[in-house]
Homo-oligomer: 219 residues x 2
């Protein structure tokens, strides 16, 4: 492992390749059903085929890649039905996190969430989609963080990676903020009020409405 002139001369490790390939898939550089030929990827990323192979194996277990015996790997294409299922699982898990967050939240964290609620209202009033979308992500991440549920967090994160494509379309659907804003505010209120049952319900209702939208965009 020598380093010369600031740039590393060594080739990429398996862990690095997993991260790079994961980013490429969730980022859309590698599109669903695209074949992932080991030799090609090795050449493109400047890595050995063995390491590429190992990385693909890991991503297969993560659910981002699909492999069939002797026929190679491709980017897994999640169907609408699967995306709905994934969102429903997320609904159940994030509801759990909301429940735990309502039990554990500190006063400081509560004012932080209240501020976030203010920013979301502002963003919707101003019609600022990007800001609202960003607050949305922050809210979900913050609730999971406050809940301190490692297992749930890891599972949610993995599932999210598989369904980002659908999540993405959804965000900039016209009229969507008008229905999701009150749901988000209800989540914040319940969590800050230390009301576990209400927080879980609010989160579940919110994400199941997301699932409904995904369902309807298909039919």
């Amino acid at each position: 492992m020598e380093t010369l002139g600031g740039t590393t001369a060594r080739s990429l490790t398996v862990a690095e390749l997993v991260d790079m390939l994961r980013s490429a898939i969730v980022g859309g550089d590698l599109v669903p059903n695209q074949r992932l030929v080991e030799a090609d990827l090795a050449a493109e990323y400047g890595a050995s085929r063995g390491n590429i192979r190992a990385a693909l194996a890991e991503l297969t277990v993560e659910g981002l890649v699909e492999r069939v015996q002797n026929r190679g790997a491709r980017v897994r294409a999640v169907s609408v039905e699967e995306a709905v299922e994934i969102t429903e699982v997320r609904a159940a898990l994030e509801a759990l996190c909301a429940r735990k967050a309502a039990e554990r939240i500190t006063d400081d964290e509560a004012v932080e969430l209240q501020e976030l609620a203010g920013r979301m209202k502002d963003a919707v009033e101003r019609g600022d989609r990007d800001s609202y979308s960003e607050c949305n992500q922050i809210l979900h991440a913050r609730v999971i963080d406050i809940s301190a549920q490692q297992t749930a967090a890891a599972t949610i994160h993995r599932l999210r990676g598989q369904a980002v494509r659908f999540q993405f379309r959804l965000a900039r659907q016209p009229g969507r903020p008008a229905v999701s804003l009150p749901q988000h505010l209800a989540i914040i209120d319940a969590v800050c009020a230390h009301n576990p049952d209400a927080a879980a319900d609010a989160m579940r209702v919110h994400l199941e409405s997301v699932a409904d939208v995904i369902r309807s965009t298909h039919s």
Copy 2:
């Protein structure tokens, strides 16, 4: 790939090794924190080190094995706190399955569950722990099956693998059937009555009581 005399002469594939190692871990042949030296496993299972290595990588993503850079792999030891978290996640996911099962269950499946309820009552009356434990597993599996939720099912299955050790101890705790039987019957009643909310609540309450028992056995 030749086969001679009914037994295969080829060495083991990585998929087979993953299955064998997983069984060995969840079955207790490989105990928590036990080091998994690649060369040793290769010799023991009659496989190449490369394949053993690939199998360990997969099991690491599954959460059954722990690896640290340049220091090898060992059977992951899940702490009591983790086991509680896992059970709480299972509670959320199996509650989702119970909800969906209540929506989708057919009349035939309903009578099947009713019969199972009868067998469970009998087993508790007779004090037949093994039979009750078996019915318990069948009930959970059947509800997941009826729900037809692939994503949730896969997630539950993976998590269960990580916590079997705790599940096992619990099953033969004295006085446990007396508290879990009514919970199981409530689940069956709600699912058969096509009552999604009640089914989800009953399942969640049941598995959160399991989580409480795990918590208490520690302190």
